[in-house]
Symmetry: C2
Subunit: 219 residues, 2 copies
Amino acid sequence: MKKYIKTLKKCRLFEAVDDESLLRMLTCFGAKVEIFDKKYTIFAEGSPAKYIGIVLSGSVQIIQLDYYGNRSILSEVRPPEMFAEAFACTETPSLPVSVIADEPSEIMLIDSTHILHTCQNHCGFHQQLIYNLMKDLAAKTILFHQRIEITSKRSTREKLLAYLLMQSKKQNSASFEIPFDRQELADYLEVDRSGLSAEIGKLKKEGLLDCRKNHFVLL
Amino acid sequence: MKKYIKTLKKCRLFEAVDDESLLRMLTCFGAKVEIFDKKYTIFAEGSPAKYIGIVLSGSVQIIQLDYYGNRSILSEVRPPEMFAEAFACTETPSLPVSVIADEPSEIMLIDSTHILHTCQNHCGFHQQLIYNLMKDLAAKTILFHQRIEITSKRSTREKLLAYLLMQSKKQNSASFEIPFDRQELADYLEVDRSGLSAEIGKLKKEGLLDCRKNHFVLL
DNA sequence: GAAAGTCTGTTGAATTTTCAACAAAAAGGA
DNA sequence: TCCTTTTTGTTGAAAATTCAACAGACTTTC
């Protein structure tokens, strides 16, 4: 487990936890690390929410598939972020999303029962973990608000611009990479892929934008 | 404050807190109750997130307004639910949403600093409040997922049906009231109002649906 | 390095949504 | 009760999105 310490310490879940305590916790929680190939389904929609996942390397996507197979990408999760924590914390009997490895990834899985229910009063760090989870969930809520601000726009053009502006702001540069290919971006913005490609083309022609693959520059 | 105890005890924030401690906390937190008229802006977008709000009576809406004045309704909050807790917990400098009274409402405002930062170790109930906040935020996250599941549908018809099915499920009956008028429903589903009215008309004609004002019956 | 597979941009046609405008119905105020 | 205001359903025209299909560019695999 030691080789993961550096990443884990950056994870919000373990904020203000020292190395030694962290290692002890991992043992106590029965934390395990699994490796998933690209496109592998880590959690399937409908399965019970038992584990909190932490991305140690690689990246995963949180997606919803509707009845017709249309995909919505809710978010992309990278090290040292966690996922499925909201479902684990409410002990949801059936996950409403799937989690897919976007590339070969090392994932730490922690049975949430250990965090929520055990040593409620004995372990001093237990309180810290609850606090950290609370902070993390609040931050995730804000991310949802941002996504809704983007997807609530009515046109492909507005969604795209809102997304790119937000990425630019987040990465503090007019020149930045996005974590999606065209189809994925369409599934995140909830628009048609071909319409999205057309819109990117228009913006280029209008001189508002330059892009090569995943690299965008706002002009 | 005593007259609010009954409602407050049902609020997730005060889960597992006894009456006496609750009253003491309210004093210690400097909690205040304010009354807002219908349509009054309780929190304006852009203002700092200082307070957690609890709806004691009436109801409020969480909304986003874009550059052109288009409204998105993110949620409707009723007693004994709270609002703005995610922003308060992250101490967001600028609220990305507005909170509007949907009818005359009594709102309890609690300065979040008291919950997040004081008596971290002295007050036994402090830990309970953090735990309760964590549970609440997890539950809110799941509500967001549900909203996204609805609004990610591509057509007005599908959004409407998904929303009505979810309401029906939530209220455990094929016959139910919704908290929105037509314009509000459109702003929640992120569709055009006239198109929504037309779609409701179609569904009625097809015999899938019956409705009078806010009362719907799925057939 | 060749072949197979995937991703991207383009197209045009069909379908939907949006927008503005209006009248009837309902709600609220005097 | 009457008058005013708000809400709702309808309409038709304009605009945008979706869909299917395809070819070229790019990747991956063997």
